[in-house]
């Protein structure tokens, strides 16, 4: 497949950008409509696949990027030996999960759900730029509120917050009373099944 002019411009932009480019941004840069850009991105991705390239176009953190296939992770990782941050701990992941679904939220809210002190997990997440302070709650003590960052989306390869796994179900859970929760227990079968 020979790419048309627009697709090649988009390809060049995606290649050179160090951040995801949204359809809107691509539209502004190429002077084309968003619709035709989404199609251009699809053509690029199709061309990559057709020609058996080691990369494809991914939709992440509100935009498009050119990314390598996970298959080549081990070989590419060598380039970043020692630079790649370690994996997040379970405590950090759980804290991040609570923030992601109920942001902006206070530390107390996170701790109420996890049942443990989340101080150090929060600190790690802020240091790793997964979480930011998004403001203060208008309640006694004006506690800080936390929210996830764009880096969070990129780190987990999420297109946007709506693409979090089971977003609707989980955010629904938060507002439920205990009896409603028991009726709608999502993971009821998991406990026996695992």
């Amino acid at each position: 497949m020979i790419l048309d002019r627009l697709a090649r411009e988009v390809e060049a932009l995606l290649f050179a950008s160090d951040a995801p480019l949204s359809a809107r941004q691509l539209g502004e840069l190429t002077g084309s409509g968003e619709e035709s850009l989404v199609q251009a991105v699809e053509r690029i991705d199709a061309a990559f696949r057709e020609q058996g390239h080691a990369f494809h176009v991914v939709e992440v953190a509100g935009g498009y990027r050119i990314a390598t296939d996970p298959e080549y992770g081990p070989v590419v990782s060598q380039l970043f030996e020692g630079q790649k941050p370690g994996r997040l701990t379970r405590a950090a992941l759980e804290t991040l999960a609570v923030i992601a679904y109920s942001q902006p939220c206070s530390r107390a809210a996170i701790e109420a759900i996890r049942g443990v002190n989340c101080d150090s997990a929060l600190r790690t997440l802020i240091e790793r730029d997964m979480v930011k302070i998004s403001g203060r709650m208008e309640s006694p003590g004006r506690p800080l509120l936390y929210a996830t960052t764009t880096s969070f989306l990129e780190y987990f390869g999420l297109a946007d917050l709506d693409h979090l796994p089971r977003m609707e179900e989980i955010s629904g859970l938060l507002g439920m009373t205990s009896s409603e929760l028991e009726e709608r227990d999502l993971f009821r079968t998991d406990d026996h099944g695992e």
Binding site: G73, F80, L93, G157, L186
Partner: protein, 252 residues
Amino acid sequence: MPADVPPGDGPGCRIRLDSFEGPLDLLLYLIRRDELDICDVPVAHVAEQYLLYIRAAQDLNLDVASEYLVMAATLTSIKSRSLLPSHAAEGEEALDPGAELRRQLILYRAFREIAKELQRSEETWRDIFTSPGERVRWAPEGAGVEPGQAGLLDLLRALESLTAEEEPAPVHSVAPRGWTITECIEALERAILPGRSTSFSEVLGAGPSRRRVVAYFVAILELVRRGWLSVRQPFPFAEITMERTGRWSLDS
């Protein structure tokens, strides 16, 4: 003192407390292990099993975080309340002492599952590389913040670095003046007469201040440099004697 750790006799002793992410995690483990329904947890049974764990951990001298102890108290309280007859008035629904705990367990489990899904994504995306952003993303010092993207933390960091730079240098008050080298040279000219050798202590006079000693010494070094003065000291720390040379004042 090395504690004589007894081999675990309860089911709890074989698992370390720190492999749990807190009391809720431990409770979920117990509920799953004993194949119980989370919505119909026999509180008495779970409380018993839970306390067994905590005691085992304490017996092993493990540091039991306070959250675990709070949960132990909560469980005991729920258990005792569930044994008491309910005093709910007519038409009023009896308060279920375990409801809040069940709610917590269900919510926590939901997020625990989400955390597992995130972990899977993390694993996948560790092997995916984008071009050329990785250099920025994994640079040891984070790149600058885009306009409009700065968070409270960025601002605080910026403020911190600013205040660190703006810290005023420590101020020393300096005494107005002592002696200038020129003044000392003039004094030396009066003190060291032609053809006569004069000692350093003679020049300084009785009880000279440290500043005076230093000023005169520097002046003497200056004169020696100019070749106007010859200086003798028989051994270290001995009296210094000075004499004009033939070049005294020739250059001035």
